[in-house]
């Protein structure tokens, strides 16, 4: 069976880049609990990225690390939502976290029914792990619900959140977060946040090409 490599790489790139962004709270989150939480969430997201990369890598005859670190920034397929640096703004971070986790659940639910058994199996495992991310996101969204900074951030990020999903899945997201459909900011163009992130993320690997760490 031939796999939809583009779809797998979108998922993997989203998880890797958001995992990286989440990890930027390590050491500086507003509470110690959140320092631990965001670090742990980052670790799991990057673990999910690795698992999706491995599936894609089998088809492409390469390995997960090459897909994660050896491409040029323009070759990444992640959505603009995950690229933005937010480690100085808790309300925006929580708004993105909540929108992302809600949207992510929708696409994982679709993959659970995939005819490709490996994809469906992985989606099932990831879905159970993600349950903890969703609980965390919902707890915070509930807590910040009436904060103007949070509401503004949700409105600002809403077009980006829509762009995370294929068009057919967007109505489910509108329903889940009780927002109206609108213009989406689609994948394709990267934001200016991606290049500096990429430079930092791939720095060690680029320093000694081909080394085994």
């Amino acid at each position: 069976m031939s796999r939809d490599i583009t779809a797998l790489l979108r998922l993997a790139d989203d998880e890797l880049i958001l995992g990286w962004r989440n990890s930027e709270w390590t050491g500086i989150a507003p509470f110690l609990e959140e320092d631990v939480a965001f670090s742990s969430i980052a670790q799991t997201e990057i673990g999910h990225a690795r698992a999706w990369y491995e599936l894609a890598a089998k088809e492409l005859g390469t390995d997960a690390d090459s897909l994660a670190f050896d491409r040029e920034p323009d070759e990444y397929l992640c959505a603009p939502l995950v690229e933005m640096r937010m480690a100085d703004d808790w309300a925006r971070t929580i708004a993105r976290h909540w929108l992302y986790e809600t949207a992510d659940r929708i696409r994982i639910q679709v993959l659970l029914n995939s005819q490709d058994r490996e994809v469906a199996g992985l989606a099932e495992k990831i879905d159970r792990e993600e349950a903890y991310h969703r609980m965390h996101a919902e707890m915070w969204a509930e807590r910040l619900r009436d904060e103007p900074a949070f509401r503004e951030a949700v409105d600002e990020l809403w077009p980006y959140a829509l762009g995370l999903l294929p068009e057919g899945q967007r109505p489910l997201l509108c329903q889940a977060v009780e927002m109206r459909a609108g213009e989406a900011i689609e994948r394709g163009e990267h934001t200016e946040g991606l290049r500096p992130l990429w430079e930092e993320m791939t720095m060690v690997r680029r320093s000694v090409p081909g080394a085994s760490w």
Partner: protein
């Protein structure tokens, strides 16, 4: 001649890299052992996909199998690990070292995690509360016992 039984025994001696009080077999991450002459196949599934101990576990299993004089073939399965697979022995060892074993069924909501009965591994009281969904490794949460005033680590139910 290597037997499957001998392989299981050998794998049961490998401590979990992050919670060494339990073995890989106690944790239920070893799913399948098949012996075909000199070749030993092991199917295993890590607790969490982001588990940094994955490679360590894989290498240690391969090493033990080589020590038995066989050629290892260790495969990471796509099937998801469940905390239900931690053995009774594993649960006892966890409790004895201050880790609360996972509760019976996967929580769907935060409310369930907050209200499900979670016993303190130190005093046994169920008057405990959730402190943090996340802990030092992806597989653990932090709870606090109101009775003996002791924070403790709770294995996540997965």
């Amino acid at each position: 001649m290597v037997t499957a039984e001998r392989v299981w025994e050998a794998l049961a001696e490998i401590p979990d890299p992050e919670i060494p009080v339990v073995s890989l077999v106690d944790l239920g991450v070893v799913r399948d052992v098949e012996v075909d002459g000199e070749r030993v196949y092991v199917g295993f599934t890590p607790t969490f996909l982001g588990c940094p101990a994955l490679e360590v576990m894989r290498d240690q299993m391969a090493e033990r199998i080589r020590e038995l004089g066989a050629e290892p073939d260790v495969e990471v399965l796509s099937e998801g690990w469940s905390s239900d697979w931690i053995t009774e022995e594993g649960r006892r060892k966890l409790r004895d070292s201050g880790f609360a074993p996972p509760s019976g069924h996967s929580p769907a909501t935060l409310l369930q995690i907050q209200t499900n009965t979670h016993a303190c591994p130190y005093c046994g009281s169920t008057d405990t509360r959730l402190d943090n969904l996340f802990g030092p490794t992806p597989c653990r949460s932090i709870r606090y016992c109101n009775a003996c005033r002791q924070p403790f680590e709770q294995f996540k139910t997965l």
